[in-house]
Symmetry: C2
Subunit: 560 residues, 2 copies
């Protein structure tokens, strides 16, 4: 970004087998000074499609985005759907590395093409929300351009800033949400990355087309069959599940169940969607058969927001004492437009309500605070800085965060394996890094165990972190199942695609090696294993009404 140049390289042999999160994390580890400031010139923002992206395998078109995080000050990978990864792979682009920055960055747009990618100044888009921005960019670069962009929050370089992607219906509704990567993009002076629709796109050809076709067919059938509930209800099925387990973050994690749950659950959501001519079967990436996402219209049946997912419904619903889906949808829309992670922002608004800055349940007041972020006021910056920064300003010590990043929508006192993931993942508190939603012990046997049993969670979380690290390299969605029995399928896919001969054990080593790379970066960045812990209040304060505390052995977590 210093020179405005785009330099193309062939993929060096040492990076040949790396895709997605493995590629972003390896590049961050090798090329980013571990103790650099995340918003300074030494950080790099790296985008890489997973190894299976662009193929006909189902649910495999995720884009990994990596950098040193301005929230955790450690390594970060956040992945997102949309069309970007699919299109990059079909243009033969293995990764993009955005380097440097200018002291006073102007908004730039990076236009990726098969040849002659370029960086353009575009002063007319400074400060735009993502909705206006995407409209403008589609006018300029053609319909169906794949767009990654930041809103005002990213331009302000705030810790809760995310990178927004348009979805397959061209709404700016999907996000590489966690870790403040939008602030890194903002610090690079990049407002948007656009890949126009192009005839240069080519189908990704597997080494063994026949075998691949057969695998894709079988896996599509498997996924379609086993994820039928997800297709019907979407991610919001988790509202009733978490509420039933008394682990649904409610009113700033004071409670584990929410008396308004039935007004924000999957049934309520689907009812609104259907009555208002929205859509409940939206694919977040091209070719996904699960199609768990949605388009949510307002009572007048006009588009209000898209990709209204469980995390948002909880963090901006029950966690704020808000039981009105229309308000939650408006908070989601405002967050997407401003370029704010709904998880980090929901947790921060929970603190704002706890200290009485606004009242629990007051959605209009919450909307006003998000508008303050868009305007760049000090109040807005305080909110947009994320939960730990906001807590510092307000003198709050009960903070739902690990390594600077807020808990997502699982109370670790009930979802104890998730708590282990929050504590120990190199990503900070991140459910996708090792999603212990069901307890399955033993990578081979996958024996069912209770979510709330403290004695087994370290093993369960460790295995799921490895499985997630594998899936994130391949570009698959986690919803295909981070399970041991899928390992064989993943290996088959890779071998049929690349002509390699890797085994399930090779895959496991790929996952473990990736986690080692990430942990090693964090160590060099000054984050030791002593930081692998949950805040003390989850061990001391019983969740209501379950009475549970987080009671997994802290030493076992640190030594996992």
């Amino acid at each position: 970004m210093d020179s405005g140049e785009v330099i193309e390289h062939d993929r060096p042999p040492e990076y040949e087998r790396l895709g997605g999160r493995a590629l972003t994390s390896t590049l961050v580890s090798r090329e980013v000074l571990p103790d650099c400031h995340p918003l300074g010139p030494c950080n790099k923002l790296i985008l890489a499609p997973g190894l299976m992206v662009g193929t006909s395998a189902p649910c495999c078109n995720k884009l990994s985005i990596g950098a040193k995080s301005p929230l955790t000050y450690g390594i970060k990978e956040s992945n997102v759907g949309g069309r970007t990864a699919y299109r990059m792979a079909r243009l033969g682009i293995g990764a993009i590395i955005i380097e440097g920055t200018s002291d006073h960055p102007h908004p730039h747009v990076i236009i990726l093409r098969s040849r002659k990618s370029q960086i353009e100044r575009a002063d007319d888009i400074v400060g735009l929300g993502n909705y206006d921005l995407h409209r403008k960019l589609q006018e300029r670069y053609g319909p169906h351009a794949a767009i990654l962009s930041i809103g005002p929050a990213g331009e302000l370089r705030l810790g809760a800033a995310c990178i927004i992607s348009n979805d397959t219906d061209d709404h700016p509704g999907r996000a590489a949400g966690r870790g403040g990567l939008g602030a890194v993009m903002g610090a690079k002076g990049v407002k948007a990355i656009v890949i126009p629709h192009s005839r240069a796109e080519k189908n990704v050809k597997p080494a063994n087309p026949e075998k691949f076709k057969e695998l894709a067919h079988d896996f599509t059938e498997y996924v379609t069959k086993t994820r039928a509930a997800m297709t019907k209800w979407g991610t919001s099925v988790m509202v009733d599940i978490a509420n039933g387990l008394q682990g649904l973050p409610t009113r700033n994690y004071r409670l584990g169940s929410f008396d308004g749950a039935e007004r924000i659950n999957a049934v309520a959501l689907l009812k609104n969607i259907e009555e208002r001519d929205g859509s409940s079967n939206v694919a977040c990436t091209p070719g996904c058969p699960i199609r768990c996402s949605n388009i949510y219209n307002d009572p007048e049946k006009n588009y209000l927001t898209s990709s209204l997912e469980y995390e948002t419904i909880c963090m901006m619903g029950s966690n704020l004492g808000i039981d009105d889906l229309d308000i939650i949808a408006r908070l989601d829309r405002a967050s997407d437009d401003t370029g704010l992670d709904t998880i980090e922002t929901g947790a921060t608004l929970g603190l704002a309500m706890e200290v009485g800055l606004i009242e629990f349940g007051d959605g209009e007041a919450a909307l006003k605070l998000i508008d303050e972020v868009k305007k760049g006021t000090i109040m807005g910056r305080a909110i947009g800085g994320g939960v730990v920064t906001f807590a510092r300003i307000m003198g709050i010590n009960r903070i739902p965060a690990v390594k600077g990043q807020s808990f997502p929508a699982y109370d670790p006192r009930t979802f104890k394996g998730m708590g282990v993931t929050f504590a120990s993942s190199p990503m900070g508190a991140d459910h996708t890094a090792g999603p212990v939603i069901q307890g399955r012990k033993g990578l081979d046997t996958q024996k069912e165990v209770a979510l709330t049993d403290p004695t087994v969670q370290v093993e369960v979380s460790r295995d799921l972190q490895v499985l997630a690290a594998i899936i994130d390299q391949l570009g698959f969605c986690l919803f295909v199942g981070p399970t041991a029995k899928n390992l064989g399928r993943f290996a088959d896919f890779i071998n049929a695609s690349y002509g390699w001969e890797i085994t399930e054990n090779d895959l496991l080593e790929m996952g473990r090696s990736l986690l080692r790379t990430e942990r090693d970066f964090n160590r060099r960045a000054g984050i030791s294993e002593a930081a692998d812990s949950l805040p003390e209040w989850v061990r001391q304060e019983p969740s209501e009404p379950s009475g549970r505390v987080f009671d997994v052995d802290p030493d076992e977590i640190r030594n996992m």
Copy 2:
């Protein structure tokens, strides 16, 4: 503080030889959960006079205050003059440990007496600035009561909040400034600690009174003779020295020399003091023969502030482009009243000026921002959060801080040994932890070396950190000289006082052992040696006009 009880213990044998910083850091290390939140109930605020406090040795009445720091999240000791330590020692109180907290702390006053110390609720002092507070407390508890207190910044639990002590003239002008310890006191619900004047005070009797008397006489003579310039000019002598070396932090550390230096130097300060009937020979603790402090009157010869020291004159003067001592004195007064560390706050205001929130040189605007802290507005909280928190809100990556704490008034690109101290001290960026103002290499030979020579600074800083750690255990002021040749005197003092038989080598081991204890706590708190580094910009951006960068080998620092 949970129970409101005061519990008295005899000093356990294992703590017998520990005083001051050795006692606070050992207690923090043993009793504070390393990964607790500094503002939560598991932290403890510990006050301990040094081993020599209360004796007739000169310059030895410093109080150490320790806790886990809400700025650095590591161990912290900050020491302060005033009468508290002296009076504690004369009442036979070896340490105070303040534990627990309530969720909604009300302002409490702890009254220390020889017997029946107690904790009182005092709702009428909530929110008071330190000036009004001290007036009120002196009315209530008698003149010449020793007072430690927090202002609104501490009540708001902000990272730049300090603990203020009244000086020997009863002005609330001295501060245990660094590390945000005022926020810890605020989190405990303690607004003030008062030791009324009492007839129960007894002279501290040395084991060998004759010997002690002789030592005290000789050391007083030595100190008086060698520190004559300090007595005449005070700490503000450093303005011309640092400016001459081109290492005076100026305009947010962009420059190392200040064109207004002669309007804020010691000559200018003394001229104002003398013309306005102030005082230039004020002792910060009872019985100090150096008397380097001052009382500064306004042009109408009314009291304006006291203890206007070099750090404040630089951080709120040259660092803000302000060359008017009256404005700087008002900023000092406002900071003392609000309970803000002038170093952390000056660095933060420097950032506020750099990003254009207010203009460089605009002292009235800076005063308004401090007033916002007093009012507790979001803007005030953002400023009072300290330099790193403010940077997060403003999206700033060029931050003059290490481990969360701002640089003090020495540019590490010129004061390179000081830079090593900032990087490696367990205290974060803190000049008192190893004050390399002169370069002396070799604990035995003390060979003079250049301040700017990068090859010798690790050794120089390491030795000075050990010497500072010794002085801080004894309760001496650093100005008696953190030099090898004083070690024998210190050993003699201790032996004559306690009847021990310790050697210079024992003293060195006491210093090293203390540093090990502190580093070990930090490791357990998640701060590894990888965090022992300066921000990248001091290595990359040449200081003007010297053109110097910080070029000490980073690995040598980490492995010191």
